[in-house]
Amino acid sequence: MIYLDANATEPLRPQARAAALAAMETGGNPASVHQAGRAARKILEEARERVASFCAARPADVIFCAGATEANALALHALGHDRPILIGATEHDAIRAAAPHAEIIPVQPDGQVDLAALKSLLVAHPGALVCLMAANNETGVLHDIAAAATLCAEAGALLHVDAVQAIGRCNQDWLALGAASLALSGHKFGGPPGAGALVVRENLEIRALIKGGGQELGRRGGTPALPAIAGLAAALGAPYDAAQIAGWRDEIEQAALAAGAVAIGAGAPRLPNTICLALPGVRAETQLIGLDMAGICVSAGSACSSGKVTASHVLLAMGQGDLAGQAIRVSLPWNADVEMVRAFQAAYEPMARRALRKTVQSA
């Protein structure tokens, strides 16, 4: 099996595995006053310090939760309850579903946020909460967060950054750039699934979405998932050869283009590991199944819990029309190697040739 779906979940990092196992063996509840509680609390607080230092934040401003869906929902709940909400057109469903009535900030055809449109929306909606992702999960396209943060600061708006896909691959000091908060998820950079965090700017008050026993300084109730949190912290800052991965990404892209594919978002700054490839006239599902049968794991659009693949709202927002239902995402994992690249190329070429031959015939 060749796993090229890192944006769905990155393979577990050995450092994360070791830290999670150690936390599991330690046991204990960080809220307990006895020595077992203290041992658990030590793991939790060391993890918090590590996340804080990685994000250039104070430990007190790191709120652990179940993952980025929750972290994003918490940001919208805590920061957006009394503000107009503006979200990027290509945001993840974790944001879109949590802010169903938000104003949409359009993106340019290359997938980057339309800063002129953001500027006028900020005038029309004073004191807004703006949600933008650092990197898009389907195309890898990076928004210009620094420019967006400057516009937000000028307009007195808050900026929340969904940094899920960028962390570990394309880090920036988002808080220093002016973001009020950022969401991250452990399993997207090699930690175990089940833990994420909302990291906020100093002195920003966060009202809990889940109150419970007042954990996380009253900002997120519920016993923390210690093994997952320890794994998350251990995976942060693990070595990542962005230049090598980007080189393989380009090789895959060249081979796909030669086989008749269109690369979407390739003109914009992108994550080193992500490619969005469309085959004109060929349903994404057909490509996905064909590659899966050849042992290659990739994904397409956003899959519902049923596994049904729908046309990508990201690509529709980029004005890709029919191609929005004809694109797959290839995302290289941190442990990619040249064999994976060759295996993909060997499977993609015949799949594309077979599928495209028919569309040429029927045209």
Binding site: R283, E285, G290, M293, C304, S306, K308, V309
Partner: protein, 347 residues
């Protein structure tokens, strides 16, 4: 052999997947998502997929085969649901299952199976595909009470060659359920599906209303001599030969004709039925030509001996004895257990 199995989540197609896997084929289960289940049952927030897709996935997991869900909502809406409403608005009586088999299962899904390099498409239909001297032949199921051949007449010869219908040879549904239980499939006792899957309440008015509200507007019920006998609440509620829902003055009469332009329902005494029936869009599963056959004019109908004469892309039926023939329904030609072809009854 590499086989795509169309899995609905019901017991029949689940058993087909199991049988194919047991025979050692590489099985790829595919479920077509035809409509938004949450919207169909009117429950906000319900999953778009519903229980059937999750059942199909569980069966695939149990059998250890690959399984994919294909979004066919747009296609289903256009080719089946809208066509269904249009047909009623045109004064006809459609058969949506035939349209679905024709356009989705043996159209899009079969094409996809070929794109994937599969050797065959297997479904849970109760019909047999037998090898004949001139290629594959379609025959009625051994269990005639389950036979679905009437719904499959539009399958072309080329499609038939690619298809497999493993259940057509079984003596009864009970036997199929036994195999399901033996395979440890959780769907073994699942209830049979309903007649029209996208009309969960059994009343199709809402679908017609959504696509073609004009087909549910009031009109006149008129005798064959032009006398107005009363009013009706929409031509979509009527089919040729129907005696229900007619005004008191038309008691003991049946619908003879439906006029979409004037929205009039023409009624007359029972019995005066037609002998000549024109067909459109005829599909031949034998060499096209004039022939004698037994013809079935509705899903649950007896056989009518007739002479069939090709006429362009259609055909003309001359029934030995007059019978009710409702436009939009299918007329399927049988010779013994074999299906020779069929067409849609023209208006």
């Amino acid at each position: 052999m590499k086989v795509v199995v169309a899995m609905s989540g019901g017991v029949d197609s689940s058993v087909v997947a199991g049988l194919m896997a047991r025979e050692g084929h590489e099985v790829i289960g595919v479920t077509l998502q035809l409509y938004d289940h949450g919207a169909a049952v009117g429950r906000k927030g319900a999953c778009c997929a519903g229980q059937d897709i999750s059942d199909a996935k569980r069966v695939a997991d149990r059998l250890g085969i690959a399984h994919y869900v294909i979004d066919s909502e747009t296609r289903f809406k256009q080719s089946v649901m809208a066509a269904f409403a249009d047909s009623y608005a045109d004064g006809q009586t459609p058969v949506p299952c035939i349209a679905c088999n024709q356009h989705l299962k043996f159209g899009d899904l079969l094409d996809m199976a070929k794109d994937l390099g599969a050797d065959a498409l297997a479904t849970g239909h109760y019909v047999r595909r037998l090898d004949g001297p001139n290629g594959a032949e379609m025959h009625k199921a051994v269990d005639e009470t389950r036979d679905q051949s009437w719904f499959l007449f539009a399958t072309t010869q080329a499609q038939l060659e690619f298809c497999r219908f493993p259940l057509g040879g079984y003596a009864s549904k009970a036997q199929v359920r036994e195999i399901a239980a033996e395979m440890g499939l959780a769907v073994a006792e699942k209830a049979d599906s309903q007649d029209i899957c996208f009309v969960p309440t059994g009343s199709y008015d809402k679908i017609v209303e959504k696509f073609r509200p004009d087909a549910l507007s009031e009109g006149e019920v008129v005798a064959e001599d032009g006398r107005v006998l009363g009013t009706h609440q929409g031509i979509a509620r009527y089919t040729i030969g129907q005696a229900k829902r007619l005004p008191d003055k038309a008691a003991h009469m049946v619908v003879k004709a439906i006029e979409p332009g004037t929205r009039r329902i023409i009624v007359g005494p029972r019995g005066s039925q037609s002998r000549i029936v024109k067909l459109r869009d005829v599909n031949w599963l034998t060499a096209p030509g004039a022939l004698r056959a037994s013809v079935k004019l509705r899903a649950r109908d007896s056989l009518h001996p007739a002479s069939i004469c090709p006429d362009g892309s259609g055909a003309v039926l001359e029934l030995d004895e007059p019978a009710i023939a409702a436009p939009g329904q299918a007329a399927v030609f049988y010779e013994g257990s074999r299906i020779l072809g069929g067409g849609f009854i023209a208006a």
